[in-house]
Symmetry: C2
Subunit: 248 residues, 2 copies
């Protein structure tokens, strides 16, 4: 697995790796300059909690690098992941001061934070930000709904296959590659995190991964490095539709 480089703690927006995908994606250079004035960077180590549920949150932020999770829990400890935050994803809710989610760094994470009040004021003046945020929120809502179908109706095997196929495709899109028959990638999640994502126990996750390996749907090098020899096969195991036309 690649080590996580920590970028410099101050970064010009123009050089930002998430410049074209984050909440600032549509901003003009004068708008970026204004954002520079209210932004600051914070970094978190793997495993650290970024925000506790119900805590006052005086900033909103973009994930610059690393992976974080949004989780909700019941009183008796059962927990469900409700969001997976990747570089360029947005955290926090303008207009509200707290949220019922824990935000946790899964890997080392660098966040670009904006002080809440100035950001909210700027958003009212700057349609480019509000427009982009709306688009991103609608995308997240679509993703949440596909996730609901997975949680409510898929079998354990289908859930695992779905997760693998999501990670594989996302990996391709981040590297700006086209999805291919054969794909190789690293799982960014522990078995427990996968279980919380899928609404399963970690034992079931482990068993189903072993089963997919036995059946030749995937190959494993170590615990985290996955090879998918035939993406069509994996996607049909995922259940949603035999071929979403993802492959060329």
């Amino acid at each position: 697995m690649t080590l996580h480089e920590v970028p410099p703690l101050s970064l010009r927006c123009g050089d930002c790796p998430i410049r074209h995908r984050a909440v600032c994606a549509r901003c003009e250079s004068d708008e970026l300059q204004e954002l520079e004035g209210i932004k600051y960077y914070r970094s978190f180590e793997a495993g650290q909690t970024i925000v506790w549920a119900e805590d006052q949150m005086d900033f909103v932020a973009s994930v610059v690098s690393g992976i974080a999770t949004l989780t909700q829990t019941l009183e008796d400890g059962r927990t469900q992941m409700v969001g997976l935050l990747l570089p360029s994803d947005f955290v926090g809710r303008p207009g509200l001061s707290s949220a019922p989610y824990n935000v946790t760094a899964t890997t080392d994470v660098l966040m670009c934070c904006f002080r809440k009040t100035p950001f909210e004021e700027m958003m009212l003046r700057t349609p480019h930000i509000a427009q982009r945020l709306l688009q991103m929120t609608l995308d997240e809502l679509d993703a949440a709904r596909e996730w609901m179908l997975l949680l409510g109706r898929k079998t354990a095997r289908e859930k695992i296959a779905s997760l693998l196929s999501i990670v594989a495709r996302r990996n391709a899109s981040i590297r700006l590659e086209v999805a291919e028959e054969r794909m190789v990638f690293d799982l960014p999640l522990t078995r427990e995190a996968m279980a919380d994502y899928l609404g399963l126990t970690l034992e079931t996750v482990s068993r189903q991964i072993s089963a997919l390996k036995r059946d030749g749907v995937i190959e494993l090098q170590g615990k985290r490095h996955v090879t998918v020899p035939d993406m069509h096969r994996l996607m049909s195991e995922a259940g949603d539709d035999s071929d979403g036309g993802i492959l060329g």
Copy 2:
């Protein structure tokens, strides 16, 4: 159950029952006037499909009255409800021409439709609309995430109790009442729709409702009319937290 009155097929925005909650909630009177120019009403009978998944959708719309559902299905027919649309809720995605959901009228439904292209253009010029839509979308995302916790981690009994408590509270808020110890309401969903909402089979829904009745958590008059003698009891059966401070 109350019969469903069909409002007149043309309605001044100023007299609209959802005026203060829908996507137009923040509009000034001149903005409303512009909306009047691109809006038209359509009504649907209970059971009718409003939009088929993947179909071209040349409008966006607000639910004026009645209840509709958003559902996703797998090829083999398994279906999961991913949204419950109540009066003032918004349908359709600005910027995209189709969505992967079926939208179905559960009761008779009246929709206030806007032609897509004019609406999108107006949204770019009118921050009040974009701002309100963002707020509504963020609310929906929060609701979707609570729903994910329910689907992934709650037992069948907790799922039913959660649904009943959601419907009870929503009923109170629509009637502008405060939630009380004892509450009485109608279920707007069939057993099958409840099953699709909760990720269960209709048999399990029926059994768990019977069990809650046996245990005195609810009383039934007919199949749809529900009395909750003790909301605290119901909410603790729902599992999330013993008392969200909902009651006075």
